[in-house]
Amino acid sequence: MSKASQDQLSALVELGVGGIASILWRYFRERAWEQLKSVWFIIAYLLLFQVLFLDLPIIYGATIAAGIIIVVVGLTFFMEGLRLGLMPFGETIGAILPRNSRLPLIITFAFILGVGATFAEPAISVLKKAGSGVQPDKAPLLYSLLNDFSGQLVACVGVGVGIAVTLGILRFFYGWSLKILIIPIVLLLSGVTLFSYFDPILNPVIGLAWDCGAVTTGPVTVPLVLALGIGVCRIIGDDDNGASGFGIVTLASLFPILAVLGLALYHFFAQDFYGAANYTGKLLEPPSPVVKTEKSDSEKTEGAEPALRFTEEEFHHYLQAGELPGGEDGYTTSYRSGEVYLEDGRIIHRLSEVILEKQDTKNKLEAIIINQTKHPWNPDIKVFQEILSSLGMAMQAILPLCAFLFLTLLVVLKERLRHADEIGIGVVFAVFGMALFGLGLTLGLTPLGLQLGSNIPVTFTSIIPWGLSNPVEPLFPNPLLGKFIAMIFAFFLGYGATLAEPALNALGETVEKTTVGVFRKSLLMQTVAIGVGLGIATGVAQMAFPSLNLTFLLIPPYLFLVFLTFISSEEFVNFAWDSAGVTTGPITVPLVLSMGLGIGANIPGVIDGFGILALASVGPIITVLTVGLIVNRTRNDKELSLVENEDF
């Protein structure tokens, strides 16, 4: 570069501080606006529903408001980080890989990437911790998997994802159809799940297995793996179908399920789980009875007046019958010491002392509301610790993967990274954004979803609203109408949460980019969101009407799904299945699970939200495939007219 031209360049660059500030401000405003467009629906919906429709106060309003703002800022940075850093990075490597290296190397790379991505996923470490929450006498195999064999479990998930990524990339090299991979896997999975469903020991493991499938397709892995696939397919193939590059995500969410179920079956037949014949571990003392309560642990009663003390007789009655005078509203529960953590949307106290205190039922509700309005900030959240932990998780999720990719590029492929500064900034943005996003979720969106989710049953039954202590009468005297309304609200909850999912947004953008705008992001997102909404509404229906058996709600859709997959075109099979793998993300899962728990707690015989999640991932596949069939019909009409007129 000559001296003169350098001068010319630098002359153009000089902007001054004001200029730089204005460019940066406009940049940030535009990007934040984009993210706001994807999350406003779910936030506005949750707030309005709680305040206007259910007529209940929002507890800890200030914490939630701050959390929501942080979520938007975090998403802005995270998505920008994906766009600048992670996705170009993945695509670059993907495009170099097929030319510069041999097949064994590519297989090794893909396998390590899959395993690494699993270990980096923050949710997988929760899995390791989750074991203590399980009661060994109720679910012995699940308990053993999470405690005795937790190492094997995580390894299984990792190997499952590793094989999935490898197969996904090999698929591009050999031009295999995704259908011939999916249909046998899904049939096998359905068979094993059904078998497990009817066995009391295997049954509790199903939820874990399917959750592992959802856990591995997080907001970092998905865009990275997508970009990699796109890169590979830029180089390989005759380019006959527009969907090349997709499908890895699908495999990465199916294989871990298979791996975990396989592990469970192995231990089931080896009879070496908790309490079984060949068990080698230590049996636990029978756990002390636990008082089940839906009340929050944050209520503190001040020094109790004499009238509000339990008497000796009441205590003896409690020991014998397990109940206290005044029913569930006659006392408050608080916890002392021990550790508290969030698992699957449930708050779990471990090794805590449970303290029951008598309470004045009449004045309580008012007192709490006054207390809440006085303290809109949740005193139990230690912001600094939360910041540190979410930053740690974000770094764990992003940095090791990037380091691995960077080393591969530099050492194995021997290529230099173009636009290294852009990618570097992108990675920093992604870490920063993901940390903020996680923080915002814990402060704002998840608590809000918890409150609302557990309040939804108020439409058809009498419940104690979240954070309050007095029961509220059902909103609709007719329970059928109330349940119907709960389903409608569940639909919109799923719809809104899906639109806000970062991984789905990234998928939508990738689809739009690779098809040069033929397949719009908005079309994909809307279709998927409606599918998730329908799935969740069906799940709520199943819980609200216990006579509907989950097995019979799940099996026909899955069979229908296999049929649809069989008759659909390859590109829509790719889009549909990939988007289903992506929907179970950090926004949807807590909201849906808390709603499932809320409804489950108020209806006897229903325990968890597993059915809802399973239905929520069938829904989008069916809707996307259906839209695909409609679209292809109009397309084929045109082709037909071409062939018919051939002779003239």
């Binding site: 570069m1 000559s2 031209s5 350098q6 010319q8 360049l9 153009l12 660059v13 902007l15 730089i20 460019i23 940066l24 406009r26 940049y27 920008e80 600048l84 495009a95 097929p98 030319r99 097949l103 591009f172 090299f173 050999y174 031009g175 295999w176 830029r234 180089i235 390989i236 193939g237 005759d238 380019d239 006959d240 527009g242 173009r418 636009h419 500064d421 852009e422 900034i425 992108g426 980019k513 690779t514 098809t515 040069v516 705008g517 033929v518 397949f519 079309l523 279709t527 839209v627 409609i630 679209v631 109009t634 397309r635 009409d637 045109k638 082709e639 007219s641 071409l642 007129n645 051939e646």
Partner: protein, 391 residues
């Protein structure tokens, strides 16, 4: 030291085909001895005739743009073959046109189309290519292409084709602040009859507001011949022939397009005169293109920018070859070419080429090629009246 050779009498033949027929066309053309073709994905535009259609999930038609640099003597045969294989005479089957290159310079290792290798013999197919066609090319911000394409269709053009490109210019002079600008742009190509040119040009310029700063570029390229048959209305089966088909049939019968001068029949004061907004119009510039391996584009771009070129657009093309490497599964391994395209005044080109050639030799790039064609009228936002050249 690389050697470069200059050629004249070459044309750029561009075919825009729907996805379904590209594969077949490429196979046949490559089998007949064509050395290679460059392809890029694109989408067409369909208007929805009825209000309820906007609620149906419809996709824009998937298309592919295929380009060949061909010697003039064989361009006719190539175009005839593509018309035959792609059935381009049918409504909605695609379009093809040839752009005469005013200059073509390529490195000696570039796989240029050599005369004599291509063996397709025309079977007196009697294809009447139109001679009075002009291509309108517009570079717009991402997301704005649909509005512009619709405006073009309303003004009488058929089937605008949209592809994604990367816009280079101010962005790359911002240093690291460049991350604040998205480089993605959309490139809209419309082929129109000369008769419709004024109206379509004006409609596109207005819809894209190209006269304002940062709103892109619009230019017209004269074509030597072509045939356009791209669908532009969704669901035409209500009538056995669409209005476009009928107009085309009458055009063919009349042999010209003058019969369309409806101002003589209907007195509509608004329709009589087009007031062309002459601000920002640049005359007699040249579109200068650089073809190179995709990984070399950045270096050549930097070179061009530091030379003083105000802006450029980059598109990435797959190279379809008759002898491509294959994977074990029998799939083709594609090579990728980058095309850097710049709109310049003619006198800049020679020194720019010299500078680029130096960079090519220095970095030992393989298979590079320069070619340019006329753009007699272009429109963009302009502060000064001339394209900035090195003073």
């Amino acid at each position: 030291m690389k050697t470069f050779s200059s050629h004249s009498d070459y044309s750029l033949v561009t075919a825009i085909l729907p996805r379904q027929s590209t594969h077949r066309v490429l196979e046949e053309v490559l089998a007949s001895g064509a050395s290679h073709a460059l392809t890029i994905n694109a989408r067409g535009t369909l208007m929805k005739e009825r209000w309820y259609q906007s609620f149906l999930p419809t996709l824009s038609p998937e298309q592919e743009i295929i380009r060949f640099l061909v010697h003039n003597s064989e361009a006719d045969h190539l175009m005839e073959q593509i018309v035959m294989v792609g059935k381009l005479r049918l409504y909605g089957a695609g379009s093809i046109y040839a752009t005469p290159c005013c200059e073509l310079t390529c490195a000696d290792d570039y796989p240029l189309w050599r005369t004599g290798n291509y063996t397709f013999e025309s079977v007196s197919f009697d294809i009447r290519f139109k001679k009075d066609l002009v291509a309108l090319v517009q570079i717009a911000q991402k997301g704005e292409a649909d509005v512009i394409a619709r405006a073009a269709i309303k003004a009488g053009a058929q089937g605008p084709t949209i592809s994604y490109i990367r816009g280079i210019g101010l962005r790359d002079r911002l240093g690291i602040l460049r991350i604040t600008k998205k480089p993605e742009k959309e490139l809209i190509v419309v082929v129109v009859d000369k008769y419709d040119l004024e109206a379509v040009f004006e409609a596109m310029a207005r819809a894209g507001q190209v006269g304002l700063p940062g709103r892109g570029f619009l230019y017209q390229v004269p074509l030597s011949k072509g045939l356009t048959n791209l669908a532009s209305v969704f669901n035409p089966e209500k009538h056995s022939a669409s209005v476009q088909q009928i107009i085309r049939a009458i055009d063919e019968m009349q042999g010209d397009t003058h019969w369309r001068a409806n101002q003589l029949l209907i007195h509509d004061p608004k329709a009589v005169e087009f007031k062309r907004d002459t601000r920002g119009i640049i005359k007699d510039s040249v579109v200068f293109n650089v073809l190179c391996h995709r990984k070399d584009t950045e270096i050549l771009l930097d070179n061009a920018l530091s030379f003083g070129v105000p802006g450029a657009s980059v598109s990435n093309w797959r190279c379809a070859e008759s002898q491509a490497k294959q994977t074990k599964g029998g799939l083709r391994l594609n090579r990728e070419f980058g095309n850097i395209s710049m709109i310049l005044s003619e006198e800049v080109i020679a020194p720019l080429q010299k500078s680029l050639k130096a960079a090519i030799c220095k970095h030992e790039m393989k298979e590079t090629c320069f070619f340019s064609y006329d753009a007699p009228i272009a429109k963009t936002f302009q502060l000064s009246t001339s394209i900035s050249t090195r003073s």
